[in-house]
């Protein structure tokens, strides 16, 4: 068993029209190398499910997104994601706007192979009315009416971690794993990019087995992508590149700004990308963000 893929093999295994979940949170530990591979491809009509950051903004800017299912889209220190904003204000996106908690609840329903999970969340708000969510009544004595959060079934999930082995054992070493494990379990196929790939995790890093955020039966492909979260943060290895994110955000205000960003930064491949954004050493030395 060897789940290692090249980044080209990874992107070739996706199809237009798929529903793709992206792990991480805002500008934190996003599988950006995998996202850039999608940006370089001719994939289109995607439904994206995410706690969005620049991943969502870039996919919107590139016209890859048909529908967006989101709890928020933000880059923290740059609160409003400019390309997401542009797409929304142009009215070109189908959307399903969720509460952050509803999103993970829908992933859990999919993971547990349930049609829905009940929750209080969303009731009484326009998330409920605009999202056309249905309610269920508790069959017990309380008789409470609850929102039925439908399963968010994914065709594919993308996540980025510190380490993976060829069998699909992965380790995320940062202080927060967000909802990556639920994206993985909600998906038919999960693709994991990693800073480092080893033959066997038990031969290399057995002491960090508790960082194995999701079991390998939920991991279908692993892709080596050093510095693959750039420009988002990858604790404890490196921080986000706020200077880069700022210039990316500024590009949205210029005519042809996105095309220039694609030409100047995204380019043809990851090796070239890392050179264009300042080099491996500079990215690896980015300080961890302070909150």
């Amino acid at each position: 068993m060897n789940k290692q893929l090249t980044i080209e093999e990874f992107v070739a295994s996706l199809k237009s029209g798929m529903t793709i979940g992206i792990g991480g949170w805002g500008p934190r530990r996003k599988p950006m190398a995998l996202v850039r591979a999608i940006l370089r491809s001719d994939l289109t009509d995607l439904t994206i499910v995410a706690y969005g950051g620049p991943d969502v903004g870039m996919l919107c800017a590139a016209g890859k997104v048909k529908k967006l299912i989101f709890g928020f889209v933000s880059m923290d220190a740059i609160p409003l994601e400019p390309y997401f904003r542009k797409s929304r204000e142009a009215g070109t996106l189908d959307i399903l706007e969720l509460d952050e908690g509803m999103l993970q609840w829908g992933l859990k329903a999919a993971a547990f192979r349930l049609p829905f999970l009940p929750t209080h969340v969303g009731l009484g708000t326009d998330v409920m009315t605009h999202g056309n969510f249905k309610t269920v009544q508790s069959p017990y004595d309380d008789g409470e009416v609850l929102l039925a959060m439908p399963a968010l079934k994914l065709d594919a999930a993308l996540i980025h971690v510190n380490r993976a082995d060829r069998l699909g054992n992965i380790q995320a070493l940062g202080p927060d794993t967000y909802y990556d494990e639920w994206f993985a379990r909600a998906a038919d196929r999960t693709f994991v990019s990693a800073e480092e790939i080893v033959d066997r995790m038990d031969h290399s890093y057995p002491e960090d087995a508790r960082a194995n955020i999701v079991e390998r039966c939920f991991v279908h492909g692993v892709v080596e992508a050093p510095l693959g979260a750039h420009p988002t943060s990858m604790p404890p290895a490196y921080g986000w590149d706020m200077k880069h994110l700022k210039s990316y955000a500024d590009s949205a205000r210029e005519d042809g700004g996105w095309d220039a960003y694609v030409a100047d930064m995204i380019g043809a491949d990851e090796a070239g990308y890392l050179g264009r954004v300042g080099g491996k050493d500079a990215v690896a030395a980015l300080p961890l963000p302070i909150f």
């Binding site: 928020f72 509460d99 009731l123 009484g124 009416v145």
Partner: protein, 266 residues
């Protein structure tokens, strides 16, 4: 405790806002934005030490983390509350009181941070999205901080997209348990309000020195109620100012209110 000689209006608001968490017990105090965060820290370090707080990333701390640049490892973790546990452990369990700054607030206490104007399919101005507001509002205590009290924030009709639950009878779906909706304080640059009016109507309970009720009403898009006795917002003490200064070593609080006006004594 002596009253300090000089202070800013922002510091006076931070002290007033910290009262939101008084006697809340063991729950996570979350202040989003510099002033609410300083207010939560002040509450924990003065009247309500049992409050819990995060470092803004993933760890629970007993010493509130100062604002702005610092050494990454300066904060000392006492516990662990990453986003991956946040809904289980803090939000849906009701173990939290958040103070936030919505873009719009209506007479029912419903708020909006999602978009302004236009429609759901094509908003005029897209903002963050609903974030955790629907869940926060139906599961735990919430308060608000408004740095510029105006009709743009306190809107005349309903907010453009109801991101958080308030006390609007028209949105009370039959059979739903809204008993945990618990809106406490709204601290603005003009006054302090609560939801103690008729049927949870918004009510002015404190005016900052020099501000009149009519002035607040004039800056609000709906009719306000007045508490039977409206108090004057107290001046910070020297002790409170020293704690605020320690939690904000880079002086970010100077940027919260336009022109950073001086505070006033009554």
């Amino acid at each position: 405790m002596t009253t300090a000689p000089e202070f800013t209006l922002c510091e006076q608001l931070i002290v007033a806002a910290s009262e939101a968490w008084r006697a809340n017990g063991e729950l996570v105090a979350t202040g989003i934005g510099p002033a609410p965060r300083l207010a939560a820290g002040l509450a924990k370090l003065t009247h309500t030490p049992e409050l819990m707080m995060t470092d803004g990333e993933a760890y629970l701390v007993e010493d509130p983390v100062p604002l702005g640049p610092r050494g990454y490892d300066d904060r000392k973790a006492a516990g662990y509350l990453p986003f991956s546990r946040f809904f289980d452990a803090a939000v849906w369990s009701g173990k939290r009181h958040a103070m936030v700054t919505p873009s719009q607030i209506d007479r029912f206490g419903q708020t909006n941070i999602s978009y302004l104007g236009g429609t759901y399919d094509q908003p005029k101005v897209q903002m963050l999205g609903a974030r955790g507001f629907p869940g926060n509002s139906i599961c735990h205590i919430n308060s608000m901080f408004v740095p510029a009290h105006s009709k743009r924030v306190f809107v005349e009709g309903e907010v453009d997209m109801v991101s958080s639950v308030g006390y609007n009878p028209a949105r009370r779906t039959p059979g739903v348990n809204f008993s945990r909706v618990d809106l406490r304080l709204i601290v603005t640059d003009l006054c302090v309000m609560d939801f103690g009016g008729t049927d949870n109507a918004i009510r002015v309970v404190m005016l900052h020195p020099g501000v009149t009720f009519d002035q607040v009403q004039e800056a609000t898009g709906f009719a306000l109620e007045a508490a039977s006795e409206i108090k004057s917002t107290p001046a910070p003490t020297a002790e409170q100012l020293a704690i605020i200064a320690r939690l904000d070593p880079h002086g970010l609080r100077a940027t919260v209110l336009k022109d950073n006006p001086a505070g006033k004594r009554s």
